[in-house]
Amino acid sequence: MYNFDVVTPKTVADAVAALGEEDAQALGGGQTLIPTLKQRLASPSKLVSLTGIDEIKGIRTDESGTLCIGGGTTHGTIAGEGSAYPALAALAGNIGDPAVRNRGTIGGSLANNDPSACYPAAVLASGATIVTNTREIAADDYFQGMFTTALEEAEIITEVRFPVPEKAYYQKFEQPASRFSLVGVFVAKYADGVRVAVTGASNDGVFRWTEAETALSSNFSADALDGLAASADDMIADMHGSAAYRAHLIGVLTKRAVAAAG
């Protein structure tokens, strides 16, 4: 690693101030960023650790029943305390391994927007709201392509607000070495319709499979997806799977997710 300073602010305001310096970068749980720094793929002059900021940790349900999760909340905490949204808690409990889940945070994952990460699928399928120190961003506006988001410099995810669906399930086809999703599909059924979000598959990062949403909104059953096929255009192709294979997995996993959601 190139060297850098590490600062450990206790409040969002102090963290934002520290991030105002040139080449400063926020450090969440570090489970992606620290390996990246070891490979010298990033060279910040200063890392602003967010793990000491208590005001962005924890889970609450607001008066409208929305599940609000602090950006600094770890996967392990969400898995253990997110029972108000079981599909989300299950997703969190299947990221990486237990020690990774004790450090990695939802805010860190969403800020990074890895094209194979699990949380972006949950956030997009839930129509969640990303709350930062300056504004609220709708999920549909937040994800802007692989490793790209609507976040500005020095903007910190303080909370993620999930409307809790009637039914939901996350079906992950795990790449066994990395434990990221080769493809993952999150299906969420709300009173006003079904949303389907796909991670791991597209060169543009997480996306909604709108044809499946239309079919499932009128008939929430795996049969409703018969004859529908996701396009292989612009799918990720690598040593783990071709574009056509990933496109095929989207259909299979969506059916499984709907069947499992009940």
Binding site: T8, L27, I34, K38, V100, R103
Partner: protein
């Protein structure tokens, strides 16, 4: 360089560290507690697993500066004052839960964290919890047996090979 202070195995310690100093480098290099191993240095193998504020953490994927004020427990910190082994350690010995021994500190710390949260895990739960601990001798059966035994459960049902 900046000063960092934390409690390691019940003792207050401090030292000057660079921003990039990993917690495991502080533990091994500054504190000379070399029971915590570095296997892969890419947060996959779990040989460096320690407890930070009671939670299992890979110490190769956390900066020493982030442990400011934390309670850290390493493999050296779990034995009794007289050197007596914990139930997990004793079971690893009784059931031959190690071959070369390199992964053992991480395995023991991981198993100790598991049994704190889940005192009677099933075999499947143990294997799931050990996802992040790799034994390159592939001695998993006896490791799982040892953890079953340490939690007071029958090990007879676990495959022998």
């Amino acid at each position: 360089m900046a000063k960092v202070e934390m409690t390691v195995n019940g003792k207050s310690v401090s030292g000057e560290v660079e921003g990039r100093t990993l917690l495991v480098e502080f533990i091994r290099g500054k504190l000379e507690l070399t029971g915590t191993h570095v296997g892969c240095d890419t947060s996959q193998c779990g040989a460096c697993l320690v407890h930070v504020n009671g939670q299992a953490v890979k110490s190769c994927t956390m900066f020493a500066a982030e442990a400011e004020g934390a309670e850290v427990t390493t493999i050296e910190g779990i034995t009794g004052k007289d050197g007596s082994l914990t139930a997990v350690q004793q079971a690893f010995q009784d059931y031959h839960g190690l071959q070369c021994g390199f992964c053992t500190p991480g395995m023991v710390m991981s198993a100790t964290a598991l049994l704190k949260d889940n005192p009677k895990p099933s075999e499947a739960e143990i294997r799931e919890y050990l996802k992040g601990n790799i034994c390159r001798c592939t001695g998993y059966h006896n490791i799982v047996k040892a953890i079953m035994a340490a939690s007071g459960q029958d090990v007879g049902a676990i495959a022998a090979e």
